[in-house]
Symmetry: C2
Subunit: 249 residues, 2 copies
Amino acid sequence: MSPGDEEQAYLAAYDASIFPRPSVAVDVVLLTVRNGGIWALLARRADHPHRGRWAVPGSFLRIDESLDAAASRVLAAKAGLADIFTEQLYTFGAPDRDPRTRVVAVAYYALVEPSRLDRVVSAREAVDLRLARLSVPWPGETGGSVGALDDEGRELGLAFDHAEILGMAVKRIRGKLDYAPIGFELLPDAFSLRDLRFVHEAILGRALNKDSFRRRIIDRGLVVPTGRRAAGVGHRPPELYRFADRSAT
Amino acid sequence: MSPGDEEQAYLAAYDASIFPRPSVAVDVVLLTVRNGGIWALLARRADHPHRGRWAVPGSFLRIDESLDAAASRVLAAKAGLADIFTEQLYTFGAPDRDPRTRVVAVAYYALVEPSRLDRVVSAREAVDLRLARLSVPWPGETGGSVGALDDEGRELGLAFDHAEILGMAVKRIRGKLDYAPIGFELLPDAFSLRDLRFVHEAILGRALNKDSFRRRIIDRGLVVPTGRRAAGVGHRPPELYRFADRSAT
DNA sequence: ATAATAGTGTCTCTCAGACACTATACC
DNA sequence: GGTATAGTGTCTGAGAGACACTATTAT
């Protein structure tokens, strides 16, 4: 028996069903920034458990699908979105996080420009799918649970451990903002430096110095002026910039 | 039927077995720093697949065990270690990463002072369990695969996607080093600033400025002098410091 | 003209790197 | 005393915050 045959025989005899297996779900925190805050797409649960509560969109992982592919599938199915910045966030695996059965949830986060979401949310009746403003009760990158608010500023009931998942997403983008060009994912192709600063301020939850922000962004070569200016803004119109391809850096 | 009863009935009727489920494994990259390099604990695989190749220690997740608990269990079982700094790293889920069956691997990394590992590795015959120096072919936080070397500097064959898992661990600790006190996890209770700098240099893979490193560490209040000095070093003995409890900051 | 924001120039403060200099143990 | 490293003092340059000042458009 050659080593290759031996390995083939081993694999053929391997019984994958001897250990009880958890289910694996992929949940995607779709984030955007508008009105000075961070907003997340949430779906109202139609079924038990946690029926009527609001949940981060997700799906069980298919048996021949990569984790990244599952995240893309969730974004396409729940929000009709493709080509979105998406990154793995953290994996949640407390034994009792889902009362049905053991579910290990691989969480992702995705960033999208708000105008691409307006269509998504208005297409539904905004009853079972909505954008909710996040309320972050901790400063900086402390971490912890994060709530979601309805239009009147009341806390929405969140399903499972999704307050923790939202908290991890906020912590992550706050941490990445300083060294990764993620602000651009939340803006249209052309934007003023003021727009970009507002995005950063919303994510960080604090005001930034106007002048040093401008200099930092320009000095790092992250943006390129387009030569166009915004119009009809009621004051001196700002130069519009676009994200500089990182290959230029 | 009250809402509570209805939920109970739903959960009782829920059949968790209708979807095929992947296996979930927890792999732990146990890292230490010595001789100017980063070293990882690797186990030689006794069985197919990848028999004879070197793998990051791991185990299948038990059905009632949290992910963190599984990581601790792996450290206790494979290295006899408890109370080690451990943190979730990334989840690897390519459909073909294990030829036996679909396995989603939740990777952790752990940091330990090298003297605590000498016992572990010498207890075995160093045939099926060893520390291997990592060879990192990329600068900074670029990311990518990382190899492991034997005592003669030859590449060890790694199992599965474990070169990628090692790479993610190195990328993570390089990124965390600047803002998190992880260097102390790799040193005994009392250490000189020179020792600490060598740990940082080994992790980052580049030399650091002696003077500014000293000032940065002291000015941030991360360390407290013990009043003791190292002895028998052949030159002026350095002050020994200990890690300052972060509550003091 | 006025309001409002865009955008520039300059000063200061902090921090990292560089480097010179002194200190101290072991040989 | 020589050697090797510990530890301090000082200069310089880069970058952030603060602030004053000019520029430009809508009303």
